[in-house]
């Protein structure tokens, strides 16, 4: 039994013609992509309660923000040589960074991962809260907490313009923009190369590129 030859006509017609473009598109510098919207992922998420995202609805979880900020301010104030400006800036920045890390950077779920079969692997905690509904009470609280902190800090100190700008940009970039409903389940990607989705790179042997008249009957003998 001799080895099979590979020079046989390709008979299958791939239906989505645009997925064959493969390498012909140039990579963009910035691209906004939606994640986690496939039907099977939606189904897998709705199978069980997600305890990793339900805890933010508890009132204690709301109070803890106030308590932690309070304690943080007191601790930072104990550092010798601390002025009010730097202290408030530090509290602001640490709060914003930690809440960004927790709500908008880390994806996936630590508990009950087997129940959901990886359906939450691409979603941050913010996107998991309340199954993706917007303007729920917890989300409203989480929206206003950093704003209140910022307003309190500007009220109690007199920032020089630089620190004010730092605080304000941190607030907008780390707390306001990621929480906007327009950015729900969107990801900004930089410098993607060829996006390999369902398509694969079109190889030279793929008949599309070959001259159709070059295949003759002799190939079938």
């Amino acid at each position: 039994m001799s080895r099979p030859s590979l020079k046989l006509p390709h008979l299958a017609v791939p239906v989505p013609a645009d997925s064959l473009k493969g390498r012909r598109r140039s990579g963009s510098i910035v691209k906004v992509e939606e994640v986690g919207g496939r039907t099977e992922e939606l189904l897998d998420r709705s199978a069980y309660l997600n305890i990793n995202a339900n805890w933010v609805n508890a009132k204690g979880a709301w109070l803890i923000h106030v308590v932690l900020v309070f304690m943080g301010k007191i601790i930072i104030d104990t550092i010798p040589g601390m002025t009010q400006q730097i202290s408030w800036t530090l509290v602001n920045l640490i709060y914003l960074n930690l809440s960004y890390l927790m709500f908008h950077w880390v994806t996936g779920i630590p508990f009950d991962n087997e129940l959901h079969g990886g359906a939450y692997d691409d979603l941050t905690l913010w996107e998991q809260i309340d199954d993706g509904a917007q303007y729920t009470p917890s989300k409203k609280w989480l929206f206003t907490a950093p704003i209140l902190l910022f307003l309190a800090s500007t009220h109690y100190t007199n920032y020089n313009p630089w620190l004010f700008a730092v605080n304000l940009t941190a607030l907008i970039v780390l707390a306001i923009i990621p929480k906007l409903p327009q950015l729900h389940r969107q990801r900004v990607r930089f410098l993607t190369g060829d996006a390999s989705g369902v398509s694969t790179p079109v190889t030279p042997s793929f008949p599309q590129m070959e001259n159709p008249t070059s295949i003759t009957d002799a190939h079938f003998k």
């Binding site: 039994m1 080895r3 099979p4 590979l6 046989l8 006509p9 390709h10 008979l11 299958a12 017609v13 791939p14 239906v15 013609a17 064959l20 099977e40 939606l42 189904l43 897998d44 998420r45 709705s46 079969g117 990886g118 692997d121 199954d131 993706g132 509904a133 917007q134 303007y135 729920t136 409203k140 929206f143 206003t144 704003i147 910022f150 307003l151 500007t154 009220h155 007199n158 004010f164 304000l168 607030l171 306001i176 409903p181 389940r185 190369g193 390999s196 369902v198 398509s199 694969t200 790179p201 190889t203 042997s205 793929f206 008949p207 599309q208 070959e210 159709p212 295949i215 079938f220 003998k221």
Partner: protein, 517 residues
Amino acid sequence: MENSASAALEPLLSFLTFSLSTLESGFYKLPGSAVVARYVKSSHQNDPGRTILELILIIFAIRTLLQSRTRADRSGKHFIKFSEKEIDELVDEWTPEPLVQPLTEWEQKDLSSVPVIAGPNGPKPKLFSTGKTVTNLASFNFAGLAGNEQVKDRAVDTLRKYGLGSCGPPGFYGTIDVHIDFERDIAEFLGTEAAILYSQGFSTISSVIPAFCKRGDIIVADRSVNFAIQKGIQISRSTVRWYDHNDLKSLEDTLISVEKERKKRKGPLTRRFIITEGIFERDGEMVDLPKLIELKLKYKYRIILDESISFGTMGRTGRGLTELYNVPASQIDMLVGSVANGLCSAGGFCAGSAIVVDHQRINGTSFVFSASMPALLATSGSEAITYLRNNPSVLLTLQDNIRAVRAVLEKTEGITLLGHRASPIIHFCLRTQQQSLSVTPATYDYEAEERILQDIVDDAIANGVLITRAKHLRGQEMIESRPTIRIAVTAALTKKEVEKAAGVVKTSVTRILSKRR
């Protein structure tokens, strides 16, 4: 001039100052207003710019607080809210649709063209409609085991001893000793550590794939895999990358690109699988197994090989591609085969190492949730394996017959033969002026070709040869392939009979095609 302008504006200005002062006095009358005024003054800190920014923030916060809640992701975003009256109107207008739409003319014709066989199936069955005996080149009966006397006797004995039903899923009172014997026979036959038996051939591969591939794993699969494999991949929710049909260079490129992607994303190492068929059901091509194993070892993938057609037909004694290419079966991680196709019994199996097989006893969905096969089918399978072991000449006959059919059909004008020269299923499609290499679907008319092929099939049946079109679920498969007629060669017929049958097919083809022209 100025005097008249200022005179005109004067009442307006005085009105404004009056209203402002009333507002101010009214504001200070409210309790707590002094606190607010003091707060705003100290926040302002003589910097209007900051105050404006803070005001914008406050307005934004208040706006956010006042928004109402939107729907969650999973509840349909496309629900339209109807009023009660509209709902009543719609309910009154509603007439129930039939559960099944009435068949179109083509579907009706297609359905009625399926031949009904009176009596047992075999190489020469009798048609119910005409009572004539036809040569069967449509059913999968590669080694001629359909109606084999030895197998039949064993089956009758088993029926007398065990009865018919198996009473449940294999994990729950459904496993009989004959199943365990058959699994052991398959494992010994193939040379693997163990094998597990599934009761339906189609759901075998679509249970094996989700048992091992989960979300986050990577599957690299051939574009032309059969429908069962496509469904298995879809159920598994893994990331799939497709490579060009039977093109190992494309496979290698895909493997390299997957590795590059993973490195770029700095992702963790997940399980990776290559899924392909031994002989493709869609067109009869055969995969180059040694090269595949080489690639698998180089890039560290696991292979799931679907030998539904090649088990029981390839190799010296029918062990499949592993025997044909002299590759030890332990090199293939999950070897899936069909007992229904190769051994003319029913069901399928997955052979591999002991761990692979034991995992499927809990995680193979069709093993856990479907009833096990009747005892007599398991013993028929065991008997078929013994028959293949003792009569390897059957496979030589099969190969002779394949060569004979191909020789006749290759000389036929107007059709193109597909697939490997040694494949027991032979597909042929209509040949157009410009060969079907361009990928735009407009080069062939699917429906017209189907009709022509159906005419050829009907003509061949009228002349005593039973053949069939390859039936696909149009619109449900991933890629659409050109309509073909599928001939399944069998070793139960002699070379002369098979040549005669192929000659009948050839005349049918020429007759129909010349009529069309």
